[in-house]
């Protein structure tokens, strides 16, 4: 660090003002660009290697959560089978019981397919992913719309 001492003892006086100016500028730059990092994480959602790009028909052996966008209410409507599910807890128990049924049928890897309208906000999709992860279901699939030709 810079030392002290009597200035009269020092025969070579250095003009520190330009240096202070530069340090001020640097300080202002870093202070303005400084931002606290948000705690971020990720969900692995690796794509299936052998399907998805050819539109092959799949035998229905899955748990499907349909998500629709209500334009008038500007709200998402979630459907599990024919039931409309608003509450997260209700959806969680429905997915859990369906998953348990598949496990009893010796198909523990039955996927949960999130089949959403393209207008559905991403945060609502993530809510469903979060519920699945909470139930330790790793096989989650995103249904895609019609492919571009």
């Amino acid at each position: 660090m810079a030392g002290g001492g009597d200035q009269a003892d020092n025969p070579v006086a250095i003009n520190v003002v330009p240096m202070v100016d530069v340090i001020f500028c640097l300080c202002v730059f870093f202070m303005c660009s400084f931002k606290f990092k948000q705690l971020e994480g990720k969900f692995d959602s690796w794509l299936p290697k052998n399907k998805g790009d050819k539109g092959t028909p799949v035998e229905i052996q899955e748990i499907r959560v349909a998500m629709f966008w209500d334009v008038e209410k500007q709200k998402v409507r979630r459907q599990f089978g024919t039931r409309v599910v608003d509450e997260d807890l209700q959806l969680e128990s429905l997915i859990k019981s369906a998953h348990d049924d598949f496990k009893a049928m010796n198909k523990p890897d039955a996927p949960v397919i999130i089949d959403g309208d393209p207008r559905v906000p991403w945060k609502d999709v993530i809510d469903v992913v979060n519920i699945c992860k909470k139930l330790s279901i790793d096989n989650i699939e995103f249904a895609l719309g019609a492919m571009d030709k």
Partner: protein, 181 residues
């Protein structure tokens, strides 16, 4: 009348700058070390929150290229304010949503080409028996704003699948711990 005596010795009032410089250096050091330059490829957006999300360790496998981050963020042309988005609504103006990689915006057409290039940079060495072709080993992280439309994310996933990228991850934010509990 008695005349006042003038001070014989002029007082030196030059401030001592040394302590200030010391403090400035410390501040500079703090901000320089605190500024994480690796965050520059992350656009400013509001991630959806999820409690079960696993922490991103930013680890890259040995010999692999760095992870590719695709940001889907709300950025109206000319930075014009969007009343719907600003008020926490769901903006569905297609022109207000951008797909960005390393600070560069892409359209639906150009993104596919760019992903093709990125996929080619890190290909697996052997043919995958399931896919019956050589796939890309590149990892793609989709960082989408919570208000972005699912259709945009579907499109990115679709393009990843088409160019042979299967290691796809989606980003979410960990909610701040409840202080009451």
């Amino acid at each position: 009348m008695q005349k006042r005596k003038r001070a014989e010795v002029e007082e030196n009032i030059t401030p001592n700058l040394i302590p200030m410089i010391d403090i400035m250096f410390l501040l500079l050091l703090f901000f320089m070390l605190g500024a994480d330059m690796s965050q520059r490829q992350l656009e400013e957006l509001v991630l959806p929150q999820a409690t079960q999300v696993k922490e991103d360790d930013n680890k890259v496998e040995a010999g692999a290229k760095s992870n590719l981050t695709i940001n889907i963020h709300h950025a109206p042309d000319g930075n014009a304010p969007c009343a719907v988005y600003t008020n926490g609504g769901i903006c569905r103006e297609a022109g207000h949503w951008k797909w960005a990689i390393r600070g560069h915006d892409y359209t639906k057409d150009t993104l596919k080409d760019q992903l093709q290039i990125e996929a080619q940079l890190d290909m697996e060495t052997t043919k995958d028996p399931q896919a019956n072709k050589i796939l890309s080993a590149r990892r793609v992280l989709i960082r989408a704003d919570g208000a972005a439309s699912y259709g945009d994310i579907q499109k990115v996933i679709e393009y990843c699948g088409l160019v042979g990228i299967y290691k796809v991850e989606v980003a979410a934010a960990k909610p701040a711990p409840d202080k009451k509990g």
